[in-house]
């Protein structure tokens, strides 16, 4: 098809600013979905979404739109994930577009997430059309939003469009603007095939489905193709587009967006950002920007019951079929037995994986405190990356210990600036910038040690700003820091799964708080339990859980023995859900106690 009549674009928006409602309106207006079948269709997409798991975005949709000029256009709406954990995927999705709609809630204004993604769009040379949504709200302040778009993001907002996706106003105007203001895709139809992979997922019937934007050339069924980064060859089996139902096509030409099925077995073989070319006539260079995704956050996952280890392995294998960005390897803990060290893109990604294991695979898990990737130089000059406190060499052998640092952007109402700065200071942050974007809106930029952020930073930020502050970050650097390994001892025995790496100056306070939290979380048992925090051989905090004094119920009503029995069974069941370390039963949540310090 003629690339002059194609427009590829995405919508950048903060959560709840109305992205999916706007997308639904586009579908409706272009007749992609009858209003009546709408609900069912959208739900189907969500099921698929859930199966696909972590990308948290919808597949691209092809809209056939007859514009006011009477011509027929193909508009490809490409979704972007809305969370910082997936910012690499955002950049690849944006690379498949020529333009982006910047959607801002007329009542809420610009948020950190919007800002971060808008910057990414600008960096990718996208045209941006600002859209002020929800203008039907009584609290809408479109002029204020325009001002923020200019002042905060630095975009010209004089031609911003006003819309209410909910009420359906301004929708056609947006589509007209997409045609007028976004460029058609460039690219050479005659050149060797070059197609950018910007999404992929595993389908039980078809194998891996990859979503591409054709940069140059054309792809057809039966074509022999090569994935350039991995150098693996396949034959195209099926081609298609989503409208939003999957529809087979006989070719995808330059500028087009669609899916390819090519008998690929694992999503890890079709990496996002990779380029597809034709073996017979290969492109000279791959599309730029490909990066191997590296996990940033690490935690141990253990089955509550040891015999579930094999099941957990199987579940992880299956999950990885669908999620190449997640990593795992076997790990053994003295306290928890056999489990896995897992790496995630970020905390949200970790939560998603955990939740899927529990819900879809019915696993009962103990998760240890998340940590980051440290860089350790030992006396023999060897530099290694360690993803677990257990792997940290003895203090005497370490000559240099470095930790990852992030650049964090926090956007907040000015009333919360004080406590937020305090929080950032407490977390060993270095302030880079503090800008009053207007009298009551502040952009704070900090460099923060990433390990402090994975602990409990986000929860505390939300608490102290009553949910109004928004955060975006990316890892920028490594810092050398005086870090120490802190152990927790239960009845004198170190519990390896509770060890954390912490800054020396914060160790005392963290140790005391952690021991106190553990005292709350470990129920009273038949004997007194000593809980200690230590660094090396030095005990820095001590708490004790007193021996249980009472666990008996007296009444036996009219000979109802079954009821008594049920009670005992329930008690026994509760114990099974705890982990026995030495002779102490430790509940699952205690292994994440370090995340809950200072939040109550």
């Amino acid at each position: 098809m003629d690339q002059a009549f194609i427009r590829n674009f995405s919508i950048i928006a903060h959560i709840d600013h109305g992205k999916s409602t706007l997308a639904d309106r586009f579908l409706e207006l272009t007749g992609a979905l009858q209003a009546r079948e709408m609900e069912a269709q959208v739900l189907d997409a969500m099921d698929l979404e859930r199966e696909r798991g972590i990308t948290i975005k919808a597949h691209p949709v092809r809209l056939n739109y007859t514009a006011k000029d009477g011509r027929q256009y193909v508009l490809n709406l490409i979704d972007t994930p809305g969370h910082v954990d997936f910012s690499y995927e955002v950049t690849r999705s944006l690379a498949a577009c020529e333009g982006a709609l910047l959607l801002v809630d007329a009542a809420q204004g610009v948020e950190a997430q919007t800002l971060a993604n808008a910057y990414l769009a600008v960096e990718n040379n996208l045209e941006i059309i600002p859209i002020i949504n929800k203008i039907d709200l009584p609290s809408a302040q479109p002029d204020e939003c325009k001002r923020q778009i200019e002042d905060i993001i630095g975009l010209d907002s004089s031609d911003a469009l006003l819309a209410s996706a909910k009420e359906g106003t301004g929708i056609a105007e947006i589509l007209e603007a997409v045609i007028d203001r976004f460029h058609p895709p460039a690219g050479d139809a005659e050149a060797p095939l070059k197609a950018l992979i910007f999404d992929s997922w595993y389908d039980a019937y078809r194998g891996v489905v990859i979503v591409v934007r054709v940069i140059d050339g054309v792809v057809r069924p039966k074509m022999k193709i090569r994935l350039m980064a991995l150098g693996q060859d396949y034959e195209v089996d099926q081609l298609g587009v989503f409208s939003p139902k999957a529809i087979p096509v006989t070719e995808l030409g330059v500028g087009e967006v669609g899916f390819i099925v090519a008998n690929i077995k694992r999503v890890s073989d079709a990496k996002i950002g990779d380029t597809i070319t034709e073996i017979a006539r290969p492109a000279q260079e791959a599309f730029p920007g490909f990066t191997e995704l590296k996990p940033m956050v690490f935690a141990g996952l253990y089955p509550v019951e040891g015999h579930q280890y094999a099941e957990l392995r199987e579940a992880l294998d299956k999950l990885r079929l669908n999620d190449a960005s997640f990593f795992y390897e076997p790990e053994t803990s003295v306290a928890l037995g056999f489990g896995f060290r897992c790496g995630f893109l970020g905390l949200l990604h970790m939560e998603i994986v955990q939740e899927r294991l529990e819900r879809e695979y019915d696993m009962d898990l103990v998760t240890t405190a998340p940590g980051v990737l440290y860089r350790v130089t030992t006396t023999d000059g060897v530099v290694q990356e360690i993803d677990s406190p257990a792997k940290l060499p003895d203090a005497g052998r370490i000559t240099k210990l470095e930790e990852p640092v992030i650049s964090a952007m926090i956007l907040t109402p000015s009333s919360h600036v004080g406590p937020i700065l305090q929080l950032c200071q407490d977390k060993r942050g270095v302030q880079k910038k503090l800008e009053y974007l207007k009298s009551d809106r502040v952009l704070i930029t900090y460099e923060l040690p990433f390990n402090e952020v994975v602990m409990d930073f986000y929860d505390r930020l939300k608490t102290i700003s009553r949910g109004y502050a928004s955060l975006d970050y990316h890892v920028t650097d490594y810092w050398e820091s005086p870090l120490v390994k802190m152990d927790i001892l239960v009845n004198g025995e170190p519990v390896d799964a509770l060890s954390i790496i912490v800054h020396r100056d914060a160790a005392y306070e963290r140790g005391r708080a952690l021991a106190a939290k553990m005292r709350e979380l470990i129920p009273r048992q038949m004997f007194e339990i000593a809980i200690q925090a230590s660094i090396g051989n030095r005990i820095i905090a001590r708490e004790s859980v007193k021996a249980m004094r009472k666990n008996v119920l007296a009444k036996c009503y009219g000979g109802d023995i079954s009821r008594k029995r049920k009670l005992l069974e329930k008690q026994k069941e509760g114990k099974k859900r705890m982990k026995r370390v030495g002779n102490v039963e430790i509940p699952q949540e205690a292994f994440l106690a370090v995340l809950k310090l200072g939040t109550d």
Binding site: R524, M526, F527, V552, L553, A554, Y557, G558, G559, L568
Partner: protein, 384 residues
């Protein structure tokens, strides 16, 4: 050698009769009960008599226990009719223990004489507390003075076997306040007493009242103290503890309730009543109306009938037996079930033995009082 309860595994039947009526609903109670209604009561008693005629099979029985609800809301002639029907249906000898649960506000000298005349020979008063502030918090209808008066009336009516129930761990109750009630009970001198811990079930109206009144209950260590100190006073006053929450003057243990703890057999009559017989458990329909209509229509009143597996019978015998001061006689268990308790569970019990929470003398497993306080920890060992 001690031949107390627990040494003899009961095989003679106990009869439980449920009376589901109350004049008011207590805010902490989740037993099977409803408000008193004369018409319903008459139909209910008549249904009971029918059920008794159907169930009676002439086997030996030596206890009848009227529980509730508030059984003392029935008229003496109704109680008498039930007792007479039981005597026709089962083989009762002259030494049958016949207990009536009563609330202090429901009795008069005339009614008590009537119950006595009907054949009731044991009274169990739900006193719960001798402090009026505590009784008000529990929404009880009687006062401390009324309880003392009801006790005196019962003695005057000729009852020589009276039990009083007291509850500890009440909202706002401190250890010293609990002991006041224990002392008041001792001063009256009943023949038997039950000292319970209040369990506030999840949706109890008492929970709302506690939230409104900002009432709290004592911490765990204080409850342990209440239990130990309360029983200590009962010891000094000459009572003998024979079960986790029951004490009695010599020879006055509740024969009926012992059947529950000694692997015994009992038949439950009336709505919601539980039965255990020949290795089978069942429960009657809980709802009063459902129960009456089933009896009237001649359809089965029993629901949830379960034949216990050999393991379940054993486990139940073990965990209930541990409640008795006499302990669990491993010889009897071996005889009945062919299982060596010590060989099977000894290792799991070692930590409790080491801490003095359990004792074993080669023939019986016994809980000292500190052990009774944490009895469920040990009972759970038996649950498969």
């Amino acid at each position: 050698m001690d031949r107390g309860p627990g040494r003899v595994l009961a095989s003679v039947l106990g009869i439980y009769v449920h009376i589901p009526f109350c004049s008011a609903i207590c805010n902490y109670c989740n037993f099977n009960r409803g408000l008193f209604e004369p018409g319903l009561k008459e139909r209910y008693v008549s249904a009971l008599l029918t059920e008794i005629r159907q169930e009676g099979d002439g086997s030996r029985a030596d206890t009848i226990f009227f529980g509730g609800g508030t059984p003392s809301l029935l008229e003496p002639f109704e109680i008498e009719a039930v007792i007479d029907a039981c005597a026709e249906g089962w083989d009762l000898n002259g030494d049958t223990e016949i207990t009536l649960e009563a609330n202090p506000e429901t009795v008069t000298p005339e009614r008590l004489a009537g119950f006595r005349g009907a054949g009731v020979n044991r009274l169990s008063y739900g006193v719960q507390s001798f402090r009026d502030d505590e009784l008000v918090r529990l929404s009880r209808l009687h006062s401390s003075a009324k309880a003392a008066e009801a006790f005196a009336m019962a003695r005057a009516a000729g009852f020589d076997n009276i039990s009083l129930d007291l509850m500890m761990w009440l909202p706002q109750q401190a250890v010293s306040q609990w002991l006041e009630s224990v002392d008041a009970l001792i001063a009256l001198g009943p023949d038997h007493a039950s000292l319970y811990m209040l369990e506030i079930y999840p949706n109890a109206p008492l929970r709302d009242a506690m939230a409104r009144g900002r009432w709290s209950v004592a911490p765990e260590d204080d409850v342990a103290e209440m239990y130990l100190a309360g029983l200590g006073r009962m010891d000094s006053a000459g009572y003998e503890q024979y079960e986790i929450s029951n004490v009695a003057r010599p020879g006055r243990q509740a024969r009926h309730n012992l059947k529950y703890w000694t692997d015994g057999e009992w038949i439950g009559l009336g709505c919601g009543a539980h039965s255990t017989r020949s290795g089978t458990r069942w429960k009657n329909l809980s709802d009063t109306e459902d129960y009456i209509s089933a009896v009237e229509r001649g359809t089965p009143t029993a629901t949830d009938r379960r034949v216990l597996s050999a393991d379940q019978r054993l486990e139940d015998a073990l965990f209930t037996g541990l409640r008795l001061n006499a302990g669990l006689d491993v010889g009897i268990v071996r005889q009945r079930y062919g299982v060596d308790v010590w060989a099977r569970y000894g290792e799991q019990f070692q930590p409790f033995l080491d801490r003095g929470l359990l004792s074993y003398d080669g023939s019986s497993l016994r809980l000292p009082r500190e052990g009774m306080l944490v009895a469920h920890e040990m009972m759970a060992v038996f649950i498969g």
